[in-house]
Symmetry: C2
Subunit: 457 residues, 2 copies
């Protein structure tokens, strides 16, 4: 490193840290040069640079001094959060097993994408995202999720979360103020819908999914649903309600926002096709690679009705001028090379086995407790007897290293309804399933005892 840059850094740091304070006179270039054994020119260069940057002032023919500025801020050192101790058993819902992530295949898709990308692909991406990725995705979703879309109706975005924000913002610009949401549901647990400022209108969920009959008279401009596998109860939206939901939307001129968060994972039969295919001009469909591949990729997509596509694309441009084009090209390579299908087949088998094992282990240890939502998805539900202290169980389990979610945080009114646990099984190795079920059962039973006692008193 040249001497003048070394000197300049040392002086700059001394000023930044307050060791040289405002107004402080510096030695002349000749004096400092001879003191440090440097040529005068080196000191002149360093002074000039720091004058240009605003750290020093100099008057012609006069000496150089430290510029007046706000009192030096000694940057308080903030502790970077200590590495969180990983859970002993991670049964939180909605989390795929990252040890299965196909690192080699993803990297190789990235390599193919990087080698094949024309120079233009290194520029800002199109509003909707890299075209090859939209083409690949349209074909994949039409084939495997029974959607009806084309590349021009897709906006690629940063995961589901951004897609949902863009959709909500677009609806708001269309004067939608209220959105009906499933209760319990994702909207109460996560910030994305709430952050958009739309008013959430809760609609109850039963074993056939959202109670569509209750939408009548709610005065909402949209409804947000998870038809393939209700999150978090696991219910599948029944055929009658699918038809009724679309009729309602048609009559009200409302939009249906379909969150197909884990539509790919159905274990005992073929996955249920997306609602979007039944009414592509009425349903806004959202999906992502977060459950199928990994959240860290931050790749999501919106399939838009023709009437919203321009507004959605503009919202995406306004938000961030597009997501990474390189990552999108890698996704296109990954899909077109058949890797996504293969990876899904593989994980479906593994997750399906873990699901069956967990359900069996829980049945053995908690006879009489009802287990739900096993047909599909990445978690199941364990209903708890009425009045059980759900939060207490979640907290006690956590103390023992077992991470689970309670149903409460997904409800519009946390204290209403029957308590339940949501148990994700994807991250459990075969050995851990029995152990975690056993450990969890101990906690649940200890609360059963508390329950009985408190009722006796």
């Amino acid at each position: 490193m040249p001497l003048h840059i070394q000197l300049e850094r040392a002086l700059r740091e001394a000023i930044q840290k307050g060791r040289l304070s405002p107004g402080c006179m510096l030695p002349s270039t000749r004096v400092l040069g001879s003191e440090l054994g440097l040529s005068r020119g080196v000191v002149v260069d360093a002074y000039e640079q720091l004058v240009a940057e605003g750290y020093l002032c100099s008057r012609r023919g006069s000496s150089t001094y430290v510029a007046n500025r706000a009192p030096a801020n000694n940057l308080p050192i903030i502790q970077v959060a200590a590495a969180v101790k990983p859970p002993l058993y991670d049964l939180r819902p909605g989390r795929p097993d990252h040890s299965l992530f196909p690192r080699r295949q993803w990297l190789s898709a990235m390599r193919r994408a990087m080698h094949a990308a024309p120079e233009m692909a290194l520029d800002y991406p199109d509003a909707g995202g890299a075209l090859p990725a939209r083409v690949a995705l349209a074909a994949y979703l039409n084939r495997s999720r029974a959607t009806v879309t084309t590349a021009d109706r897709i906006v690629l975005c940063t995961g589901f979360a951004q897609g949902m924000r863009l959709v909500c913002d677009t609806l708001k610009a269309r004067r939608v103020r209220r959105i009906a949401v499933e209760d319990p549901g994702h909207a109460y647990e996560s910030a994305d819908v709430r952050a958009s400022g739309l008013e959430l209108v809760p609609v109850p969920v039963d074993d056939s999914g959202i109670c569509v009959g209750q939408l009548a008279g709610l005065k909402v401009g949209a409804v947000y649903v998870t038809p393939a596998h209700q999150y978090p109860t696991g219910a599948v939206l029944s055929p009658e309600r699918r038809t009724a939901l679309l009729s309602w939307a048609e009559k009200q001129d409302a939009f249906v926002v379909e969150d197909d968060y884990d539509g790919e994972y159905r274990y005992d039969r073929e996955p249920i096709g997306a609602l979007q295919g039944l009414s592509p001009e009425r349903v806004v469909y959202l999906g992502s690679a977060s459950k199928t591949l990994a959240p860290a990729l931050r790749i999501g997509w919106v399939l838009s009705p023709q009437s919203l596509i321009q507004d959605l694309s503009q919202a995406k441009l306004d938000a961030d001028r597009g997501s990474s084009g390189i990552d999108q090209l890698a996704l296109a390579e990954f899909i077109e090379g058949g890797h996504l299908d293969r990876y899904l087949r593989r994980t479906r088998l593994i997750y399906g086995r873990r699901r069956a094992q967990l359900a069996a282990a829980l049945s053995r240890r908690l006879a009489g407790y009802s287990i739900g939502g096993v047909a599909a998805g990445l978690h199941l539900t364990l209903a708890l007897p009425k009045h059980t202290d759900e939060t207490g169980i979640v907290e006690e389990a956590r103390r023992r290293g077992i991470y689970v979610h309670g149903l409460r945080s997904y409800r519009s009114q946390p204290r209403a309804g029957q308590p339940a646990l949501l148990l994700g099984y994807c991250r459990l190795t075969d050995a851990a399933i029995d152990e975690s079920a056993s450990a969890l059962a101990t906690v649940v039973k200890s609360f059963e005892l508390v329950n009985r006692r408190s009722r006796n008193i």
Copy 2:
């Protein structure tokens, strides 16, 4: 593919495309099976799936018919925009030469990142982004841009554009309603600041950068500046104005938003350090990899004062739950392997040479025209005589395949001020520089003639 899935797809598509219309009765499973030479069970499976998805209805003991639904939308086929013909000479400002992009080194950084990433890194990233990337970036920026920051004060985001949106939204939440911006400047040409809904208050720019004296009495809560190299005029903010700007901000309790969009590119001397280093609690610093590497990566960063970091992190979470953690880890590897420094040294030499060549070629062909902004950045300015039809030149040049920007679109009042062209030189090969200067000079001179004639008339 199993037979029942083939049948199911054919039926679903027929319904989606309207060939089977609502209410249409389907043959019984026995009849259709024998007609198609399939077992009855295959037809039953297909019907059941389509009933579950809402395409078909069936009454117990009765026949199956197509569900009532909105009239089939024949998806109008939208033409995907035809591939745009690339320009003959691309002199648009702010665009790096993508043929230099270090594909091999970036891929290899990606490979190292992917191999080294712990499983946790595949999950949702931290609010500020992957920690190793923030650590690497803090060290790099403190060293090369003279900033004063730590990993805890950085929010990684999707390019500069999202960073600017997050900063604007955060300022709005702090009751900032008006932001002073450079005129001419980025804010008038691009959507990011405008999309945030802040009111833009123009402040003129001269050869010493933004006219800080004019900030007094403007009642703005923030000012957005490009101190290292004003965009688009190329002026460097003078030492006196740096001090005055920070004093003003201190007195007004306002924030300075520093856009260091091409701070790394300075050709005849060391780059001017960032303003942020002079006042880390007053200056919000924004940077990105779009000019130094490639826009398609969509990696940007905000260096935040302590007082804003929580709000900024939350805004990022609300917007999209974080950018790609994998890309961020690759950036960390790329920086720490010394590749960014090496790439910058290399491109600085190449761009510096192209800049000198273009300036020389223009001087030869357009004697008397003044060329500015050559000290730094990725473009220079060519001032046009007063009353020259700037838009006419830009359009005529484009017709001849020469893509340039006019200064107009960067002004608060497009018709005010002296006309000028902005000429990016990064993408021009040595041979193309002379040719493009010559072709452009022909266009400019043809308008000179028009100018003289119209004045004579």
